[in-house]
């Protein structure tokens, strides 16, 4: 464990405070001839309202862990509890929202209809839906694009629309898999601002997967560092910048540089291992 890890921060929260509990989770993929061990014995908890980043090089099993929590993949071992209830593979847990790494907006729906999709499924009346969509569209800075199809939007706009499609049903737990991975640096930091403001207001419990240390530091309360394949937890770090944070200014503080230095070394080792693996 890292020197910066505040041990009482982990111990202090009562069981009722734990929204997500991951216990001894592992996953192996069976391919034609070989078995790929993607995740090995991963355990961690996420507190109510906590913003946790899962950081690691690509191929370290971050998406696999997130997909198991989201019930999309069946674990090979271990268990996941959300609010004390076991996650059943193939059965979506209510209250859990997911933002995908890849753009999964429905190309046959307009931006507005994409955002309102979750409400439509829940049978919310059209008039009410329209009002909520208008709010979300405004919040995402997509005014004037409600009736456009996703293909007409830039990458950043598409990702904002995807974020709103998830947020409109007001999930209390947000799983995000490198949602801004495909964006240029500038757009990415804009998106950090958008996300921080939403999170400060709604206080969701967030699990945010990324391979970008700067992104993890900007957003998270805690960083869980994954090792190269097979994915294990290598280290955890508490990120103690004051809230509310400014996505640009936080990067200019000495504390940011200090934490960056500290974690960078540890992360770098895994990138090297990941490359040779």
């Amino acid at each position: 464990m890292s020197a910066l890890e505040t041990s009482e921060a982990l111990a202090s929260h009562s069981p009722a405070d734990r929204r997500v509990e991951v216990k001894g989770l592992s996953k192996s993929f069976q391919l034609a001839r070989t078995t790929i061990e993607a995740v090995r014995d991963v355990s961690f908890d996420v507190r109510r309202g906590e913003f946790v980043a899962l950081l690691g090089p690509s191929g370290s099993g971050k998406s696999t862990v997130l997909n198991m929590i989201a019930s999309l993949i069946r674990p090979s071992g271990g268990e996941i509890l959300i609010d004390g209830k076991r996650v059943v593979p193939g059965k979506a847990t209510p209250d859990v929202g997911y933002v995908f790494q890849r753009d999964t907006l429905f190309p046959w729906r307009t931006v507005g209809d994409n955002i309102g999709y979750g409400l439509e499924l829940a049978g919310v009346p059209a008039q009410q839906r329209k009002e909520r969509i208008a709010e979300c569209v405004a919040q995402a800075g997509l005014k004037g694009f409600e009736n456009a199809y996703p293909s007409a939007l830039s990458g950043g706009m598409r990702q904002r629309a995807a974020l709103m499609r998830t947020l409109i049903v007001e999930p209390q737990i947000l799983l995000m898999d490198e949602p801004f991975g495909a964006l240029d640096t500038h757009t990415k930091i804009d998106m950090h601002e958008v996300l921080l403001r939403i999170w400060e207001r709604e206080q969701q419990t967030v699990l945010f997967v990324t391979h970008d240390l700067g992104e993890a530091l900007t957003l998270a309360d805690r960083i869980i560092l994954f090792s190269a394949r097979p994915g294990r937890i290598k280290d955890m770090f508490t990120v103690d910048f004051a809230r509310p944070r400014d996505a640009v200014k936080v990067r200019e503080t000495p504390r940011y540089a200090e934490l960056f230095q500290h974690i960078w070394h540890s992360l770098g080792e895994e990138f090297v291992k990941g490359r040779s693996a």
């Binding site: 859990v96 997911y98 429905f106 729906r109 999709y117 293909s151």
Partner: protein
């Protein structure tokens, strides 16, 4: 790419039509006068010629009498002519269109539903795989005589022949479409709380639509072919029947009239499909414009 004005394009199209029609109309005469210059390819005995086709069209559609006299609308000549020939051009076209329509619609609907169900179920598609391959290897049109035998010379046999050629085409396209749905879309829907039925309705069907439409233009031609072949084999009315009758009389212009009508029918039906596709798949248009 250089862009040409629509007018320019239409100009060329008109010119091509004019050349083809002129050669067809006068080519054989030229051959008779200048045999060393113009080859003998266009014997009107076999392929008729535009002027003869036109006058035959007027007769078959009861617009003029056999002597070329205009059938009056108000003196009842037109109605009498129609009554005399129950397979007049209008009636024949109507009956062929009607059967094509029913064959097409039943074929598309059943092919689409079967394709969706089997495409979404690994179990069912594994069970039915060999049967589908086997049946698909039969040239369906070879079944037409059996169908006419079984269903008689009425409309039903034409609809069934048409259905059987359409259903497989649509089935295979829908099946492929349903198999190749992006899992990201179904996962996204499921995590937003969609039930299996909601996933089918809001994800599977829309993303399969492009595949289905790709089969509809050939399907409408196939439906028409199915009906015509059925009519060749045994029918009392319809455009196929008209062709057979003209052939028996050695009347090339009669056959050509039927062929031209079929061509027009095919063009109109395809245009309808195109319009429908442009509307339902409008989200794809923007993508290509990007």
């Amino acid at each position: 790419m250089k862009t040409y004005s629509t007018l320019n394009t239409i100009g060329w199209q008109v010119l091509i039509c004019a050349i083809v029609l002129s050669v067809w109309q006068w080519g054989h005469d030229l051959h008779t006068t200048l045999p060393w210059l113009v080859p003998d390819l266009l014997d009107p005995y076999f392929i008729s010629k535009p002027s003869m086709i036109w006058s035959n069209f007027l007769i078959q559609s009861c617009l003029t009498s056999k002597l070329g006299v205009v059938n009056g609308w108000f003196n009842g000549d037109f109605a009498k002519c129609l009554a005399r020939n129950e397979n007049n051009l209008w009636a024949a076209t109507a009956i062929t269109l009607k059967n094509t329509f029913f064959g097409f619609v039943t074929g598309v609907v059943s092919g689409f539903i079967a394709g969706l169900i089997l495409g979404r179920s690994d179990r069912l598609s594994a069970i039915f795989q060999p049967f589908i391959t086997a049946v698909n290897s039969i040239p369906r049109i070879a079944l037409a005589p059996i169908i006419v035998l079984a269903f008689g010379i009425g409309d039903m046999s034409k609809i069934v022949t048409s259905w059987i050629v359409v259903v497989f085409l649509v089935f295979f396209n829908t099946f492929e479409g349903a198999r190749s749905i992006d899992e990201g879309f179904t996962n996204a829907a499921r995590l937003l709380g969609a039930s299996e039925w909601q996933i089918t309705r809001t994800v599977v069907i829309p993303s399969t639509m492009a595949w289905v439409f790709a089969s509809l233009t050939p399907a409408i031609s196939f439906a028409l072919i199915g009906v015509i072949v059925g009519e060749f084999i045994g029918a009392e009315r319809g455009i196929g029947r008209l062709i057979i009758e003209s052939e028996a009389r050695g009347e090339a212009s009669g056959m050509m009239v039927a062929v031209v009508v079929l061509m027009l029918v095919g063009v109109v039906l395809s245009a309808i499909i195109w319009r429908l596709q442009a509307y339902l798949l409008r989200w794809q248009r923007q993508r290509s414009a990007e």
